[in-house]
Chain length 160, copies 2
């Protein structure tokens, strides 16, 4: 079995979108995925790329991916964020996720960032233990707040 972890290119975006959809389906929100292959190509590879994606290839098939981008900390300056790390169901437990995380941390190290962040579901103790073992810390006292598309429109209409 030949495993390669590499930077994604445009031609991987179809497989990357399949992984994104597989995860959304697993999380029972299949309709939440609005992004398209064309958008992923435009946003990730044209002009100023909005993200940097890595893929895990097993025998020339994309079996996993990690998608990262820069954020800006008012304390630390430029920092790296790992938005998603997905491994196909049949390939889980084979170490692909770990190798993708290794690649992301090395990428952040090479960029010289002072922090790499991601999020984890608070009931996913196996993942939390894994991250703690890797030297990360888990902040339990922050909640994520989201204003969605309908919420933004409603908010703005209330301003006028």
């Amino acid at each position: 079995m030949s495993v390669v972890i590499r930077k994604a290119d445009k031609n991987d975006m179809r497989a990357v979108l399949d992984l994104i959809r597989e995860l959304a389906h697993f999380e029972r929100e299949p309709d939440a995925v609005e992004v398209t292959v064309e958008e992923l190509i435009k946003d990730g590879f044209e002009g100023h790329p909005e993200f940097q994606c890595f893929v895990a290839e097993v025998d020339n098939e994309v079996e996993g991916m990690a998608l990262t981008y820069m954020r800006y900390s008012t304390w630390k300056g430029k920092v790296l964020h790992l938005e998603d790390l997905i491994v196909k169901e049949p390939s889980r437990g084979s170490g692909l996720g770990s190798r993708l995380l290794d690649r992301v941390v090395r990428y952040g190290y090479d960029l010289g960032v002072k922090r790499i962040s991601w999020v984890v579901l608070d009931w996913n103790q196996r993942a939390i233990d894994f991250y703690l073992k890797k030297g990360a810390r888990v902040l339990e006292d922050w909640d994520v707040v989201q204003l969605d598309e309908a919420g933004i429109k409603q908010y703005v209409s209330n301003l006028s």
Copy 2:
């Protein structure tokens, strides 16, 4: 009293850093702020800006700021994130924070993003109630994971 909410320029970065430091001091982590005025100017105003900052000016003095940047959702594509919204202690309760948030939401609306996100401390019920009233939702089941500078170095040294 004359209040102006506007996009920040380079000359505001000194006042913006003072606000960042005031908050860090309040949170009892004054030494956590490593960013400098020079970095804020370089990162926010040169080449491809890493963030977009807004300030609230009262009688020509900067009394508050909101710092935003783009993130990338694998479900929604380009989304806006509000990293920090800070109002000087003496000016709190005067509606400046609310007006800054209004400006940020309108900015996201004009950009056409499908989501605006930020974080809130889970014990800050007053803020949570305010955001809910504004139409946002609060996700309580995600924890933030951070690998800091020392953690990144340690992680990478374990790879070799």
